[in-house]
């Protein structure tokens, strides 16, 4: 679609209204210049921006916490659903309640932090309790001081001892030490002991114990260990109760989920608006907005701006070459735009390949998926989706894409005589006991993918030739448009006649002598033409000749392109065979009641698998045929996509706004 570049000049007091209207209408792709024009300045909105982004991040965090503690029940289909529509006034309400909602988000985050703190505290208590466990038999405080005449040692040795071995070890370390001890706890690698010595021998005892690796407890208290453990347990219990309460409170906040989501959208929208404001050129009283707008929408834009600010000035100019691209197609081709954009939007030199590609996309997808039953399922599912879910434009296009693909699938399914594989024939055989094939059952002649595989292979490659030639026609057109006549007739035209020559020759092998001669004639003339013209950029007679001869080598790439279309047969055959195998498996147990139940289960599961695998395969390989075989002939891409300044919200959209 043709783009206009637009310049809107308006009074600063109308800035907010104009921007809001433009954002609602999503008509304008805003241009950003790094440099400000002379005499103008930019407003620094980074403080507000930061504030909005912080709030948006806070709501995001709060939503994540809510999702964790109180997951929302979501149906599988909800992701296809369009945004909720709200009245324009409602955004004011959301704005008004945003302070409150941010408060709630803060509370949610605080509660979550408290929960995390409690959990960490409980881990600490658990470790402390584990340490105290060894001392539980001690009935005096851990920091019992020395008495008047005795020195007290309380601590652990890093080795297992019993009474005898400890006495021996101590005697060995300090032969003349007098001591009395009690082992509180002993295991293979630790011994907790209580030891008294006469005060006069404190030094000696200290040294002796140190040689054995004695260490005092880390944080001794004036409580006995059992008392201390009791305290810890009490505290732990309190923490558990508190956490439970906090969690309950947190769960009650789940009812605010929707308003938090709305508030998040609100802040995202505002931060986008402020980002645009920071990029506007402004003076004291006026501001200028530069952008691109599709030609058809110019009037609408003028009207909107005039309504928002009667004294604004709007100027349109033809856009330059690097303008963003917005594709415009009829209802049949529009769903395939996403396929083109996924490759790359067209640049100024390219033609929009969507219309021609859309047809081949549906056609080839149908040939690969090739089952009337599956096609019908696609049509029904996408139609229901379109009716019930009211999806946004993008999802609507995707659903439409598969609806058209479904139609093509039904047609090819009928040609190949495949309706859930050979389900009708299988059912017929079960009911009547007579064996029958789909060919006998269906009143029209069918192409059996298994018996007529060779015919379908030839058909696939013939269709591939048509596809490639269509791509080359586009190239021809592009060359003519850019007045590159040599490119059009020599580079593209001669190869086209060459391929047509081979096609006629191929048809001649089946049909008769004359066609072979005609085909060979065309091919030879084209080849001579190629040899004479392809070296035209080279210097010298030999350079030209060898350049021309070398170009004939390109025939290999055309052959490999054409052979690549055999995947049309391959995927079509796979769908049919998989469906038939599952039909066969489902009838294994015969017509008894358990047999019928088994049949229904296998039938449903089997066909679900077939649909899933083959729909994916057909989609990917159809795309590949477009990208690799067809686009390589004429399409460069590299354009910028048209990304209008719009309401980029997740959950709501404002009613009556032009949803693009």
């Amino acid at each position: 679609m043709k783009m206009k570049s637009v310049r809107i000049i308006a009074l600063k007091k109308d800035r907010k209204r104009i921007l809001e209207h433009i954002q609602d209408s999503s008509l304008v792709h805003i241009r950003h210049f790094d440099e400000c024009e002379n005499g103008f300045e930019r407003v620094d909105t980074s403080a507000q921006l930061q504030q909005f982004e912080r709030n948006a991040a806070l709501t995001e965090q709060a939503l994540k916490i809510l999702d964790r503690v109180a997951p929302e029940k979501k149906s599988l289909l909800s992701s296809f659903k369009g945004r909720r529509e709200i009245e324009p006034e409602e955004i004011g309400k959301i704005a008004a309640s945003s302070v409150k909602v941010i408060g709630i988000c803060n509370k949610i985050c605080d509660l979550d932090k408290q929960l995390a703190d409690s959990a960490a505290e409980r881990v600490r208590i658990k470790t402390a309790l584990a340490q105290l466990e060894a001392w539980k038999n001690l009935d005096i405080p851990m920091n019992t001081p020395d008495t008047a005449n005795t020195a007290v040692f309380l601590g652990s040795l890093p080795k297992g001892y019993d009474n005898t071995s400890l006495s021996e070890a101590l005697a060995a370390a300090a032969p003349d030490l007098l001591f009395e001890f009690e082992i509180i706890f002993s295991s293979s690698n630790i011994t907790c002991l209580f030891l008294v010595t006469p005060k006069s021998q404190k030094e000696t005892a200290d040294n002796a114990l140190r040689t054995l690796g004695f260490s005092r407890p880390l944080n001794p208290t004036s409580k006995t260990p059992s008392e201390k453990a009791k305290r810890f347990r009490k505290k732990d219990g309190e923490l558990v109760r508190k956490s439970e309460k906090d969690l309950e409170t947190l769960k009650t906040y789940a009812r605010y989920r929707e308003s938090i989501e709305d508030t998040q959208d609100y802040f995202v929208l505002r931060s986008e608006k402020y980002k645009v404001i920071s990029e506007l050129d402004q003076t004291k009283n006026v501001f200028i907005l530069y952008g691109y707008v599709p030609e058809d929408d110019c009037e609408k834009l003028s009207e909107i701006c005039k309504r928002a600010a009667p004294d604004c000035i709007i100027e349109y100019e033809d856009a330059e070459d690097d303008a963003p691209v917005k594709l415009k197609n009829n209802a049949f081709a529009e769903p395939a735009e996403s396929i083109v954009t996924m490759y790359s939007p067209p640049s100024k030199k390219d033609v929009d390949p969507t219309p021609i590609m859309a047809f081949f996309f549906y056609f080839f997808f149908g040939m690969m998926f090739s089952d009337a039953g599956y096609g019908l399922i696609l049509i029904i599912a996408t139609t229901i989706g379109l009716k019930l879910l009211k999806p946004d434009r993008k999802m609507k296009n995707n659903l439409n894409l598969f609806r058209y693909c479904g139609v093509a699938t039904v047609i090819w399914g009928l040609i190949f005589g495949s309706i859930f594989g050979d389900a009708p024939a299988v059912v017929y055989t079960m009911v009547t006991g007579k064996a029958i094939t789909m060919q006998q059952l269906l009143p029209w002649p069918i192409l059996d993918t298994q018996k007529d595989a060779l015919t379908i292979m030839i058909l696939s490659i013939a269709l591939g030739l048509v596809h490639v030639l269509a791509g080359m026609c586009c190239k021809f057109y592009v060359c003519l448009k850019s007045k590159d006549y040599a490119g059009a007739f020599f580079d593209t035209g001669l190869w086209m006649t060459m391929l047509i020559g081979f096609a006629v020759l191929g048809a001649g092998i089946a049909a008769g002598e004359i066609l072979i001669k005609i085909g060979a004639g065309i091919a030879i003339v084209s080849a001579v033409g190629l040899v004479l013209t392809q070296g035209r950029d080279k210097k010298g007679i030999f350079g030209k000749l060898f350049g021309g001869l070398g170009s004939l080598y390109d025939i290999t790439s055309y052959i490999s392109d054409l052979l690549s279309y055999s995947r049309l047969l391959a995927l079509g055959l796979t769908t049919g065979v998989m469906a038939q195998v599952f039909n066969m498996l489902s009838t294994l147990l015969g017509t008894s009641i358990p047999g019928i139940i088994y049949m229904i289960v296998i039938f449903l599961v089997g066909h679900a698998i077939t649909i899933g695998l083959n729909a994916l395969g057909s989609y990917v390989h159809t795309m590949r045929l477009q990208y690799v075989e067809m686009f390589s002939k004429f399409y460069d891409g590299g354009g910028k996509p048209f990304e209008p300044f719009s309401l980029n919200s997740k959950k709501f959209k404002i009613k009556n706004s032009n949803d693009q």
Partner: protein
């Protein structure tokens, strides 16, 4: 002497070799995707699709094995001659080896795709497309095996 044993061997080769390919492919993809899921369990759907992609080879092998069984007298059909049995054996090699090695390769591609998708969920469709491209070689092997297997009962050998 008929070719029954060879037909059975053929069904086994078709199913087992391609099954090995799929098992290894899905196995390594599943390991990687579980690593991703431990960080973010909301990606389960996407991870499942990428993990299952190398799983088709096993299915193709099974289909060939199944068709051999229904046409060589195990689940129906007539007993094959010796040469027909050998024919089944030869035909099953295509999907056996094709399925096994493409399963390995697709598993590796799936692992890379999963890592890519874990960095940015938007990469999912690109990862899926790239991983599916390996599929065509398993598919070609399957078609070759299949077309041979269904035409062997009619051969006068």
């Amino acid at each position: 002497m008929n070719g029954m044993v060879f037909a059975i061997l053929a069904a086994t080769i078709a199913t087992v070799l391609s099954g090995i390919g799929s098992a290894k492919g899905v196995g390594s993809a599943a390991q990687t995707s579980m690593g991703v899921l431990s960080e973010d369990s909301s990606m389960f759907g996407k991870m499942l699709v990428l993990t299952l992609l190398p799983g088709t080879q096993g299915l193709y092998g099974f289909i060939v094995g199944f068709i051999i069984m229904i046409s060589c007298g195990i689940l129906g059909g007539n007993e094959p001659t010796l040469m027909q049995g050998l024919g089944y054996l030869a035909a099953s090699l295509a999907i056996g080896f094709g399925g096994m090695f493409s399963g390995f390769a697709q598993g590796k591609a799936a692992v890379a795709g999963i890592s890519m998708c874990a960095k940015d969920e938007k990469n999912f469709s690109k990862a899926m497309v790239s991983v599916t491209l390996v599929e065509i070689y398993a598919l070609l092997a399957f078609i070759v095996s299949l077309l041979m297997v269904i035409s062997i009962p009619g051969m006068k050998i």
